[in-house]
């Protein structure tokens, strides 16, 4: 079996190198990739979408349907993980998960929440640093979301940062306390935010301009276009963050 693998790899390598060798050398401004569709986006992008960051413009305006399917993919991942049978099987490590409303909650108001609360003992230094940086990470994520159409950043990036923040908190403060950040009844709504908001915005665009997810081009409707973009960004960010958080929580290793 091992030799079959190596043979397969070499065959793949040979064919790909042969194909790739024929490609035009990258990096030159007049390569076909820059002349055709890309050039038009750069040229008319600002006027048509009102955004400075062309990547976000492509993501939300020119190829908005791709991003809709993208949000659906991340939602599919969550639903897929939730669909699998829960609980440890016969050979899993027997780990007692203390019920969420347990004694831990009693001491939450007392400030003496020590590192020993976490599932895995965490060194005080990490505990302190995370507690200190948590709010700043959150603000940075919000900034990346808000300024997504002017500077590098946007919905997905802020979702990723929020997700990472949630995981850090969960590791440090223990899974149950972090779980209360995303209340159970709200999860069902928040996780569906991405696709549903996209469908709504697309419907609005459809009513206004007759084209699916069409943004009104005239100057008067500038505010409407701005609102649509922000709704999409928020939908992606919040939906994505909640999904990433739930994915982490569902992975009871």
């Amino acid at each position: 079996m091992r030799w079959l693998g190596i043979a397969l790899v070499f065959v793949a390598a040979a064919t790909m190198i042969a194909g790739v060798a024929d490609l035009p050398v990258h990096g030159t401004p007049d390569a076909p990739i820059h002349r055709h569709v890309g050039a038009r986006y750069l040229e008319h992008g600002v006027a048509e979408t009102g955004m400075r960051n062309m990547v976000t413009a492509v993501l939300l305006v020119y190829r908005g349907f791709d991003t809709f399917l993208e949000v659906v993919v991340i939602f599919t991942a969550l639903v897929a993980v939730l669909a699998l049978p829960r609980g440890a099987g016969k050979a899993g490590p027997a780990r007692v998960v203390s019920p969420s409303g347990s004694t831990a909650a009693a001491t939450s108001d007392a400030d003496a929440v020590g590192p020993q609360q976490a599932d895995v003992p965490v060194s005080p230094v990490v505990f302190f640093v995370v507690r200190l940086l948590a709010p700043f990470i959150a603000i940075f994520a919000l900034a990346s979301l808000y300024r997504g159409h002017i500077t590098p950043g946007g919905g997905f990036q802020s979702a990723a940062i929020f997700g990472a923040l949630f995981i850090a908190l969960a590791l440090v403060f223990g899974r149950e306390r972090a779980a209360r950040l995303v209340p159970v009844p709200a999860r069902v709504w928040l996780q569906a935010l991405g696709p549903v908001l996209f469908a709504l915005v697309a419907f609005v665009g459809w009513c206004l301009t007759g084209a699916f997810l069409g943004y009104p081009a005239d100057a008067a409707a500038h505010a409407v276009r701005e609102a649509m973009v922000v709704t999409l960004e928020v939908g992606i960010a919040v939906g994505g963050a909640v999904i990433l958080a739930q994915l982490f929580m569902a992975m009871e290793g």
Partner: protein
């Protein structure tokens, strides 16, 4: 009103996907409501699809550019005649969902019904998106939605065994998706645009280039994995046998067709860009013929009915690919018509088998002896399905065998005609064993003797589908109204 239909095309895809996001919300208090809501969304999609197909029959292929951006600059959804297959696709889902209502009682705990139905809707949305998009990258993302939901649907009911089958399916599927993404990247670098038509024109202008051939080759290999064509079929039997029956019906009947529709797109790309078509056709013909025989051969030793049905998918995919490879008018018609007919037959067979397993609890032929005495109607549907999967005349399976055999002789490849006809007879060997066990032997197990007909929400879809198998066999002409012009357009562009 009829002018407004085309703009509904994007909603054909968005409805099921947005619906899927709503299913967990709808089912918060009442798990049963998830099933009802899912059927509502599916029926809504069927109505939209019917309207689009009706419009297609009036005006011919039409396309919608999303966001108002003209074709190469925005994403374009194109509803051509091959896309007419989306109506039967959504229609078959409308049969599978009611079947699953009662089927899930025994297999899934109520709290996971909502996510199960959400996965089904995502699968439907992805399939529809894949079939109607005319944009390369959109093709990749839609395929990913279908694959991801299929991996989960395989593992939803079983314990470790199902997870292991699903993981094998996932690893192979992910590699094939990567090959598609790599090909999309290559084509984008070569032509600078992602629209299928635009890429074809620019490739043709650019002349033959190894990079374009590599892109087409990796696309072909990727779609062969998705279609479980013989050498790359290893993931299919375990995945489709272990999955719950409504899921196996969807996987074997519809999701496998993603590979076929993909190969059609590659054919269109290769034709337009002047890539070496003969090599492509030769490979498809050879692999198709081998798949027919090997699929039948491997199935003979199976005792589990769902595993037998999974293996017969492999040989039926062989039919379709052989039809595509022959590339003569009748063969292409046969291959395209069988895309739908096989879906219809396979869904009938898996739902009937699911009903039998649900009522008796057994899966192997030796245990299910004499089941026809206690469940006559479901076994009759199973028998009709068995006869049509082999392709005997009065049923839907025969239509494709007739066309592809005709196409084989038309293309001067008589040998493949023989392989097709006698490869199919190989399949009948194990279906005779199944029918013998069902009809002509006494029940061995007390549970089988005590079994009763399944509830109407399961029996109804199965019986209607079985009747459709027969009707589509006799009225073989109906799908022709769409398939024939589509094939002649394709052949025109192939310069034949």
């Amino acid at each position: 009103m009829s002018a407004a239909w085309p703009t509904l095309l994007p909603w054909l895809v968005v409805l099921p996907l947005a619906g899927a996001a709503l299913v967990p919300i709808v089912a918060v208090g009442q798990p049963r409501r998830a099933g009802r809501f899912t059927l509502f969304v599916v029926l809504l999609t069927v109505v939209v699809a019917a309207g689009l197909v009706w419009h297609l029959s009036l005006t011919g292929p039409f396309s919608v550019s999303l966001g108002g951006w003209a074709a190469p600059y925005g994403i374009e959804l194109r509803f051509d005649r091959f896309a007419a297959w989306t109506l039967p696709l959504a229609g078959l889902f409308a049969f599978v969902v009611p079947f699953a209502w009662r089927y899930l009682d025994g297999t899934l705990p109520p709290e996971r019904w909502a996510v199960f139905y959400a996965l089904l809707l995502l699968n439907l949305g992805g399939l529809l998106g894949f079939s109607v998009t005319a944009d390369l990258f959109n093709l990749f993302v839609a395929m990913e939605v279908v694959s991801l939901s299929s991996y989960a649907l395989v593992a939803v009911a079983g314990r470790g065994v199902a997870a292991w089958a699903a993981l094998k399916y996932l690893l192979l599927g992910a590699v094939s998706s990567l090959l598609v993404l790599f090909a999309v990247g290559l084509l984008f670098t070569l032509t600078g645009s992602l629209n299928l038509l635009d890429v074809t024109i620019r490739l043709a202008a650019g002349g033959p280039s190894p990079a374009a051939n590599l892109a087409l080759a990796s696309l072909t290999v990727a779609f062969m994995v998705k279609a479980a064509l013989f050498p790359l079929h290893v993931w299919l039997p375990d995945a489709h046998a272990i999955a719950p029956s409504p899921v196996s019906a969807v996987l074997s009947g519809l999701v496998v067709k993603v590979g076929i529709v993909g190969l059609l797109r590659v054919l269109e790309l290769a034709v337009g860009s002047g890539a070496p078509l003969e090599v492509f056709n030769q490979v498809l013909m050879l692999l198709g013929a081998i798949a027919i025989v090997m699929g039948a051969f491997l199935a003979i030793f199976q005792n589990d009915i769902k595993l037998m049905l999974a293996y017969s998918t492999i040989s039926n995919i062989g039919y379709i690919v052989l039809g595509l490879g022959l590339a003569s008018p009748f063969a292409l018609i046969g291959g395209s018509v069988h895309v739908f007919n096989h879906a219809l037959i396979k869904v009938t067979l898996f739902l009937a088998a699911g009903a039998i397993i649900h009522q008796t609890g057994f899966r192997t032929l030796s245990d299910l002896r004499g089941v026809a005495r206690v469940m006559p109607q479901t076994s009759a549907a199973m028998a009709i399905g068995a006869v049509s999967i082999v392709g005997l005349p009065p049923t839907a399976g025969f239509v494709c065998k007739w066309y592809i055999a005709l196409g084989a002789f038309e293309a001067g490849q008589g040998g493949y005609g023989f392989a097709l006809v006698f490869g199919a007879l190989f399949i009948f060997v194990y279906y005779v064993r199944m029918l013998n066990a069902f009809y002509f032997q006494q029940p061995v197990r007390p549970e089988v003797a005590a079994a009763r007909e399944p509830p109407w929400s399961m029996r109804g879809p199965v019986l209607v589908l079985a009747a459709l198998c027969l009707i589509m066999g006799i009225l073989g002409g109906i799908p022709l109204t769409f398939v024939e012009p589509a094939v002649s357009d394709l052949l025109l562009s192939m310069g034949r």
